[in-house]
């Protein structure tokens, strides 16, 4: 038996909240954004936007093809809602707050362009910077 019985609550919202904050600070500090460590929040937010774009939030670790873990009836309690529900809602709200009627795919294209620019240390237009900063700040605030 393990020395601890940790019950890990889903921390996806906390993680994305933190990453959104970090990314918003990178917009003003491109030299920090280009460091290897900063590329982790940038890449995570990029993947999140892709999940949103394709409505593809199945992101669980699975057991192998022959896995026959016996069912003990004492498995982890099921979450009352999927991990992504609040995050997806917050993304929709922030897209709406910042980009208004712009189609979401177009807004996501623009945000991803900014993330690419920051990750690759390439220039990003002033307008794109403002939009991105507003969006990530808003997402950080809206996400509970």
């Amino acid at each position: 038996m393990s020395i601890m019985s940790a019950f890990r609550q889903d921390d996806s919202s906390a993680m994305y909240k933190r990453f959104a904050y970090l990314v918003s600070t990178y917009v003003d500090q491109p030299e920090v954004a280009a460091t290897p460590a900063a590329q982790i929040p940038l890449e995570n937010i990029f993947r999140l936007l892709e999940m949103y774009r394709y409505d593809a939030f199945k992101d669980e670790n699975r057991s192998g093809v022959l896995a026959s873990r016996s069912f003990s009836g004492r498995n982890m309690p099921r979450q009352s809602k999927a991990w992504h529900v609040d995050i997806q809602q917050a993304l929709s709200q922030s897209l709406n707050n910042v980009f208004g009627n712009v189609p979401s795919n177009q807004a996501i294209d623009e945000l991803e362009d900014v993330l690419r620019g920051l990750a690759n240390d390439q220039p990003v237009s002033k307008q794109q910077q403002t939009h991105a900063k507003d969006f990530f700040n808003n997402f950080h605030q809206v996400l509970v």
């Binding site: 890990r8 921390d11 996806s12 906390a14 993680m15 994305y16 933190r18 460091t35 290897p36 460590a37 900063a38 590329q39 982790i40 929040p41 940038l42 890449e43 995570n44 990029f46 993947r47 999140l48 892709e50 999940m51 774009r53 394709y54 409505d55 593809a56 199945k58 992101d59 669980e60 670790n61 699975r62 057991s63 192998g64 093809v65 022959l66 896995a67 026959s68 873990r69 069912f71 009836g73 099921r78 991803e112 993330l115 690419r116 920051l118 990750a119 690759n120």
Partner: protein, 453 residues
């Protein structure tokens, strides 16, 4: 020591482990990229901890779990240096997995994952672990697990075609495309699988085979799982659907070899084929579905001559005998299976090397003969006009030939021997491939030089 100090101390420890394990050249591709990736993760966690308030338990917990998974990853990479797996197979498989698992990232428009491989105890260790989308990761790392005891059993390794399906499905764009394909062709038009209630009606119907009914009553007696709470408390509907998808992908990627490996491995753990798992639908349904798909593709229609035909027929007979006769297992119609096969084939054809190329009798026959003569099967022929000649052979043809040779009853060869021969064949074929590529590059260089002159 306070929590924050303890975690910072663990960061330091992990930094030392990282230096000890990954600064050396482990594995065939070296460890530099792994080192850089792990170091970036560690730097981020350390930076986050330094900025965390001692009383912020949520942020500390986030860093704790990020450290935990990084620590486990580094130790796994270290263990992969033991090399207790079939590296000829792995080298070929890596080429496929890197081609299909390439995704757009913030750094590059298409970036393949880093792949590392290790062996584990137990038959159920066949697995491909893909790091989740939401993780403290810059570059995705894909870990392929093989059962240690099956180190040389390359014919069974084709089961990884199913696992690579899960890996593909974890990438958002592919997940979107494949979900659409599956829903349109297989799930929505199907009366037994279109939703939770339909599955439960089918599963608990009086027409279900006795073995299924006994198992379900056991679930009820011991865990209070019944039709009302089956998908609430026990099974995962989406996971079951994903299993069917990955079976299609495995078949289309490895051809008949995948079907044979799936039958052998799955029925070895659950001979009745009727039991259900939390993530897995009944094996019998999966096998019956794949047999229809294989027939639709035409794998069993390749015309062999009189010498090889009996061996091929023996192989397919061994597959057909795994088909469940009870119609309860036939959950999808022939049309639904055909449409899904065609659509997934279209999806995979966009990825180099992903689709198993339909073999010809001329390609398979010499390989089968070589195995029967206990010679590693490779692309080789001897003609009086040209002398010895080597040519390229897809390693998946070698594996199919292996299954045919293993099924032949005229010249029986032990299964482990066939596997060893095929493993050696794949290794030698790799050398042939490199020799041909070298020759082509040399010829191209000469042509260029001649053009200059």
């Amino acid at each position: 020591m306070k929590s924050k100090d303890f975690l910072l101390c663990e960061c330091k420890n992990l930094g030392l482990v990282l230096e000890e394990t990954l600064r050396y050249e482990y594995g065939l591709d070296g460890s530099r990229e792994f080192y850089e990736e792990c170091d970036a993760r560690l730097q981020l966690i350390k930076g986050e901890l330094n900025n965390t308030d001692e009383a912020d338990s949520e942020a500390l917990s986030l860093s704790f779990y990020a450290l935990e998974s990084l620590s486990a990853l580094i130790c796994r990479i270290e263990r992969s240096s033991l090399g207790e797996y079939s590296w000829p197979f792995v080298e070929e498989f890596k080429e496929i997995s890197e081609a299909v698992c390439t995704e757009p990232t913030s750094l590059k428009p298409s970036l393949p994952p880093k792949v590392h491989v290790l062996s584990e105890g137990g038959l159920s260790s066949y697995q491909i672990d893909v790091e989740a989308n939401r993780s403290f990761a810059k570059k995705r790392i894909l870990t392929i697990f093989f059962p240690r005891t099956l180190k040389h059993f390359v014919l069974l390794h084709t089961i990884l075609g199913h696992e690579i399906g899960h890996a593909i499905f974890s990438f958002p764009k592919f997940q979107g495309d494949l979900t659409k394909i599956l829903r349109t062709n297989l799930i929505d038009p199907n009366d037994k699988f279109c939703n939770h209630n339909a599955v439960v009606d089918w599963l608990y119907s009086s027409k279900a085979p006795n073995s299924a009914q006994v198992y379900l009553s056991l679930l009820k007696a011991e865990y209070e799982i019944d039709p009302q709470n089956f998908f609430l408390s026990f099974a995962e509907y989406d996971a079951w659907v994903e299993e069917f998808l990955c079976d299609f992908i495995g078949l289309l990627m490895f051809g008949p070899s995948f079907l044979a490996a799936l039958c052998d491995l799955l029925y070895s753990t659950e001979p009745s084929g009727a039991k259900v798992g939390q993530e897995h639908p009944p094996t019998g349904c999966r096998v019956n579905m794949l047999i229809v798909a294989a027939q639709h593709i035409g794998y069993d229609q390749i015309a062999f001559d009189a010498e090889t035909k009996p061996h091929v027929e023996a192989f397919w007979a061994s597959i057909y005998e795994k088909r469940q006769k009870d119609v309860w297992f036939d959950v999808f119609t022939e049309e639904q299976i055909k449409n899904t096969t065609n659509a997934i084939m279209g999806f995979l054809s966009n990825h180099a090397k992903a689709l198993y190329p339909m073999p010809s009798a001329q390609e398979i026959k010499p390989l089968v003969n070589q195995i029967i003569n206990q010679i590693p099967p490779v692309g080789y022929r001897f003609t009086t006009e040209k002398g010895p000649e080597h040519f390229e052979i897809d390693f998946r043809h070698t594996l199919y030939a292996g299954w045919i040779a293993a099924s032949n009853t005229q010249f029986p060869i032990p299964f482990d021997t066939v596997n060893r021969l095929c493993e050696h064949g794949i290794m030698q074929q790799r050398a042939i491939k490199e020799k041909i590529a070298y020759k082509k590059a040399k010829e191209a260089k000469n042509t260029k030089l001649e053009a200059k002159v």
